[in-house]
Assembly symmetry: D2
Homo-oligomer: 493 residues x 4
């Protein structure tokens, strides 16, 4: 059904359009008097994980309250009026970049349902790779779906489970589900945070006094003044009751974890700590690896701002070539403008990234970017450097070639649109018109996160976008389309 909601501004923020895109950030807090205000701040710190829509649900001991909106957290949850609609000492929220399910308000999370066991709210980061199969079965049995979100499948599995308690129903439901999920749920008893057995998507736990906090990244803890306690473990399910008691279980056995390595490359904020490593330091280390693997003879190192900056600093420090801001990024992005018909080549790129001509002119430059997806933006950036008088342009990329789609909650173009799936590095260099092009190696990337390199038998991360080895079944794809799987073995603890 094509539900035409009242018209919302589609908010087509075009920031760095040619990137992979994390699709969600989640945040939950249990304990404080103004749970919703804290959740709004926490979600704001996770805004880079989803800019299209935002929702917060709170619980005041009696009733659940919910408010959702299109756009940024600050546009929807910065007023006292908005927060007054969300009383209570427990709240969870979600920022979302549109993926499965279209972009109507009814797909904005947290989703909520009144079950026989009471109210149930759920916020989900990830993607369920057998959602279509499960949904078909549920509808046959009389389930009526309100949204087109894969997350709603979990709610219906909980609602129709035959176990008596909510917790058993919830575990029963998750056992049927495959794919990636970090979840923050609320029931009238308290909050449940859990992470899929491989821990593909991140989830951390923090604390302020007696208040527990869960969030996709540590930066959300910093902003609200919480201390970092630890990560929610892959396969772990943590319950916090309304009176502050915490208990933990591991209902899904003990497979070896496979967290997403792209969080280190691009998704996470540089001031977050992920898997025990500073994201900023890892990115600098990638830059150093790049300098060792692919040094260019050049006068200056220029980052493509902002995501290329840490790797460029690492590259500059390792190579001794000076770091300079050869591209200035505007803070005022907003909607795409109508292009004037007469001239103004690449005006749309320039209004976000403008060459600092005085620096670039006559120089041999190393350009550092975090990744290449379709390659269209890279081409424009290289052109812009040449228009500004660069003598040579050597592009260095702080990740291996992105050759495969992600099915775990990251927005990737179809494989056929990925530049690295279509051509080799030499052809890519010609496509983007660079004098040279190099990517960090997959082993270099693993070294930057502190390992010896990639263990082919048992890699420590999900790196399917680079290697094509997927750590779960992908049921909804259909049998013929199944890519190479790299299913994890049970860990011997």
């Amino acid at each position: 059904m094509n539900h035409s909601e009242p018209l919302f501004d589609a908010a087509p923020w075009d920031v760095d359009a040619d990137k992979l895109r994390e699709e969600c950030g989640i945040f939950g807090v249990i304990g404080p008097r103004d749970a919703a205000a804290i959740t709004a701040l926490g979600l704001h710190a996770l805004q880079h994980r989803g800019q299209e829509a935002v929702g917060i649900t709170s619980f005041d001991g009696h009733e659940f309250y919910s408010r959702r909106g299109i756009g940024h957290v600050a546009q929807n949850f910065s007023s006292a009026e908005a927060l007054a609609e969300l009383p209570g000492i427990m709240a969870a929220g979600h920022v979302r970049y549109s993926t499965t399910g279209g972009s109507g308000l009814r797909n904005v999370q947290p989703l909520f349902a009144d079950l026989a066991t009471g109210g149930f709210a759920i916020a989900h980061n990830g993607n369920i790779s057998n959602a279509m199969h499960l949904k078909r079965d549920l509808v046959q049995k009389g389930a009526i779906f309100q949204s087109t979100s894969d997350t709603e499948v979990i709610i219906h599995l909980v609602a129709t489970s035959r176990y008596p308690t909510l917790l058993d129903r919830f575990i029963d439901a998750l056992r049927l589900v495959e794919g990636a999920y970090s979840l923050i749920c609320m029931t009238p008893e308290g909050m449940i945070a859990c992470r899929d057995p491989l821990g593909i998507r991140p989830l951390v736990m923090g604390r302020i006094g007696d208040t527990y906090v869960f969030a996709s990244e540590t930066v959300a803890l910093d902003v609200i003044g919480a201390e970092f306690v630890r990560e929610v473990e892959p396969g772990e399910l943590i319950e916090v009751s309304l009176d502050g008691k915490l208990s933990t279980t591991r209902p899904f056995g003990n497979p070896a974890a496979r967290p997403c390595i792209f969080e280190h490359v691009y998704f996470s904020r540089p001031d977050s700590v992920m898997g025990g490593e500073s994201v900023y330091e890892v990115r600098k280390a990638i830059g150093r690896e790049l300098a060792r693997e692919a040094l260019a003879e050049a006068d200056i190192v220029i980052p493509v701002p902002d995501s290329g900056v840490p790797a460029a600093l690492g590259y500059a420090q390792e190579s001794g070539i000076p770091f300079e801001l050869g591209i200035i990024r505007s803070h005022y992005v907003g909607r795409t403008f109508i292009q004037p018909s007469d001239g103004a080549r690449n005006a749309d790129v320039k209004r976000k990234h403008n060459a600092n001509r005085a620096i670039v002119q006559g120089k041999r430059i190393v350009l550092i970017d975090d990744s290449i997806v379709r390659g269209t933006t890279s081409l424009k950036i290289v052109q812009m450097m040449r228009d500004a008088g660069a003598a040579e342009v050597h592009m260095r990329i702080a990740s291996p070639p992105t050759e495969h789609s992600c099915f775990y909650g990251v927005d990737t173009p179809e494989r056929s649109k990925l530049l690295a799936a279509r051509m080799d590095v030499q052809a890519m260099a010609e496509f983007i018109q660079a004098d040279s092009l190099a990517f960090v190696s997959i082993d270099g990337l693993y070294r930057a996160v502190g390992l010896q390199g990639r263990e082919a038998k048992c890699p420590k991360f999900c790196d399917a976008c680079f290697t094509g080895e997927y750590p779960t079944r992908l049921t909804d794809l259909g049998e013929r389309d199944q890519p190479q799987l790299s299913l994890p073995v049970e860990k011997v603890a």
Copy 2:
């Protein structure tokens, strides 16, 4: 759960606030190229039956499309853009005055669900008097409700029925339901219109060429240029397939009908024909009965506009007392204004109904209104007449005293707020400060609709608001609160 939708204008149209209020109007059409445009016009003609929200769902042979909004039909469905979202040759719509279920957009009908049998849309006029009981059972079995509307119970009953075909599931569902319902449904096969076994709420069928139309009142047929075919019979279920074939069944046996008599008194538009009688002529006949039963010695007959006008004309013609517009009604009502602190007694009533002082001054007047609910407005109108210089004010009411609540889709205050439930006619006269007050008798009302009077054993109408005799069980009320029932006997056809 308290879903805080984005802010909508609460549209507190204050038109004739002290009235009983029909809660819904429904309209459906199958056949024409621009079904949604016809539905918008038809709903506009039924706007008096519900001003708070409006929705239309259409079907183009492949997909269902839906659009809903707060406010009037003209505010939501008069633009080409709005209609362009609703393609197809079948459409159904609903205007609603908020009743069961609060006023968020998610309660705006038609409701829609993707069932295992395909899409299913439903628009409902009436009220299901065992909805809470049914809902409790459904939630136990895992059903997740999207709205708080009683109508959604029908959808879940259909979704979980064990019959294979949609039609059997639908009949199965309705057999579990008690109360009042006129329904217009859409499936991928066509349209279903049906009316509860007693036919409490109205539903008529019309036709333009090969196009079938269903509507709450005949006025909707007039406006779109359709001819009136007949009423949908109480207990009848009519199917029209997408290729225009019509079939009819009576799945609920054959009880004697009990349509709502208040439709003649107030709810329906005077230019509608209901149960074979012109509503305008019935109202004039009530006025004539009133003149015979309760003649007042007076100089002029003044209607409380607009609903009192036909009865006042009847009263004037029967009594020979001249009919005059002693109260002028403004077309520009809108929101309640802030009252100035200095003075302006009853300014809020006056901005809608102003005394025509030049006519009223020094006269003995008969004021004709259709009904008295709480009595507060009647008091203000009588005061306004005296302030304008009326010598005597004799109030005559074109219905019997409204002593009981309605549970069949009419918005009535709690019984304790009904003036007639709290005092006798003499006390009511004093309360509203009239020189005299009289109501038409229940037999007079039945005579005005063309009968001999009310047959106590087997009344031809639902008149529970006057008599307290309810024609169905009222399960949700609880056993202790059960009023006197007057359940219908099976008709011997």
Copy 3:
């Protein structure tokens, strides 16, 4: 200059589109604590005089405050927030139907300027017939116009007058102005109300205790609970100081008055009293004149609601033919709908005015309307009556044929669009497809307002729309276009 304001809803309310249209209503009050709230109520009662835009300016003894909006008074001034922006004990407001000057917010009155003598606000009902000539001179001297409204000319004349006091400057300005004007102005000293020498447009004075009120019609006094004191006399200028002192002057000599007779026919509300006569009674009297001048042999008298109702009552009482509501008017008008392509003849008329078929069928009817402008609506109404089964349709019009345009603040189509300017009565009857058509005579109209008939030499009203005799010069029209003038002689008091 084409100032594109932010987008406002154009609010194309299509109420009775084929009518002449009063262009403004004005209201002012000085004295009470909540002047703006009273002004909002007063303007609401004058809403029929202008539905496109509304503004209120207030003064709190120190500063002027202003708020303007597109749409109805209730949409813009019913909230506490709106009124909180308008503090003070003096306020004036204006409702406007778009005329001279386009429809941007900057033309919404009251207009305001900071003059050397202090703040000056002005609300104007009427039209200045030499505005273009005056504006050209002012711009030559360096005046910068903010609006395209003719009213702004008055402000610039005041600003550049060489007299020292505001009052002298104001009189100096008005002496240069020709045409029709009723004005309510505010200065830091108090309120000024005045009316052009012929009193073409109405203005009345009322009182609540120490509070003085000025308004276009008495109905605004009724709604706020003020007593009617008297009309502002043609050519009179009344000042009320902030401490409540009232003084009056007649700076423009003493010509014989010529108030607009169409106020009685259509513009004013029936519950207003104008020139000492009840508008309702005058309209009934016109109906009686019509019955005497042009009796039709018929079964029922049907008004075109609502403006035709009083004349139809008069016609019915005089003729003895029964009055019936053969046309039902919907309260829910709003925007024009998209017409379905298949069928629905005249759906757009029907959604406002629907035939009461049960009454009309088989009858010979007299239809009473107040006027015919273009004739297009009359044609549709006649067709609708025939479609509903009327045996004969006799149209009777409660004014003489409208043959000429108005230049005094009434929205009239170009003369070539006026049906009566294009054909004689017989041809008009054919055009609207009536069995017969008659208009009241000009003398009949004068008799209905209580005179003997029209005195050709010295008519007591401006009736230029019927007779073409204009009581002022029309400078902006240019010499060649000057119609027949009927300039007033100085009255010998």
Copy 4:
């Protein structure tokens, strides 16, 4: 008068609140087919000069068109609909940070008036320091002001000038004006760009083929693909006719120029070239001067992003201390959030600037910022560094202490709010709780822009905010408040 416009979002973007703030950016183009689209792009590149409101006026050879809005360029001028309202081959626009004149839409520029010589539009960057005196005189003579902007004074002086041609009137007007102004004007003949005799505010000229462009900064030329031609000279007036002819005059004699030095420190974008110097290189040079004048013993150099980055790079390169991103700036700023009551110290600063704890912990840091205004933000940033574990915090500021207010179009707090006006450097260090604090010297600043140092007798820049020596009279301040003036001597060319 307090004009309450319809409610606009006040857009209280809180980006780097404790900064001096350039108040306007202007842009104009004459020649191309889609002048308004180019102007929108150009203004977008100048968005950092004013975020509160934006307006564009265009001319199509016959008429002027205007559109204005609250908020950013992208919010108001990115749609085809918006640009369709602005046809023509000449356009000028303005971005504004609210200063003189309040923030209603009527103060949004370009201002426009229909003069006797034809239409006249004006966009102004700067501030007229005798505007109040001039306005008083104009109102005495009958001028009516529409806005409270100082710029409107220029229009009225033009309107009332006795010279016959627009150009003579315009020069006549500017001779009466004192203060700072860069202006772009449009008449039916073409475009006029001019700069006050001292050239206090910037204005540059560019070219694309036959199209001339004027803009506040060169970055606007880059974005639209125009080449830089030269600066508009201080005291120069350039006319470009609609057929592309350019002529230039110097009507105000030949005083020595005094452009604003703070443009180099903070206002301009680093990728602009101003007075022949790369802004980015000047800022790096200031950082080098700072390192030479005030070296700190530290482990890392951290910029306060983004404005402190170039100076920090210069400081790091000169001192050899590594440059690191110890503070991460969020791209998602938006409205201030409601602060939770429990905890979250400095959450409002942190949501924009978060410590990169992994980098900062245990380090002695040099923090580089461009300036200190009130000092409140500096204090919070220092606290944030300590909370993140910094061992020592040495603050270095890339400008001299800001001790004086600006009266030339820069938003400065009252002098009493300026930290440097209230205490010496030692006390400031204690106030912001830094271990040490140093500012670059005024001579160091002049060296960074390529001079030998500041020539006390004849300084080459306006540096009044640092030195208190104002280069023009400040008439509106009143005689007693006159600060020290440093009026320029006539240049001997």
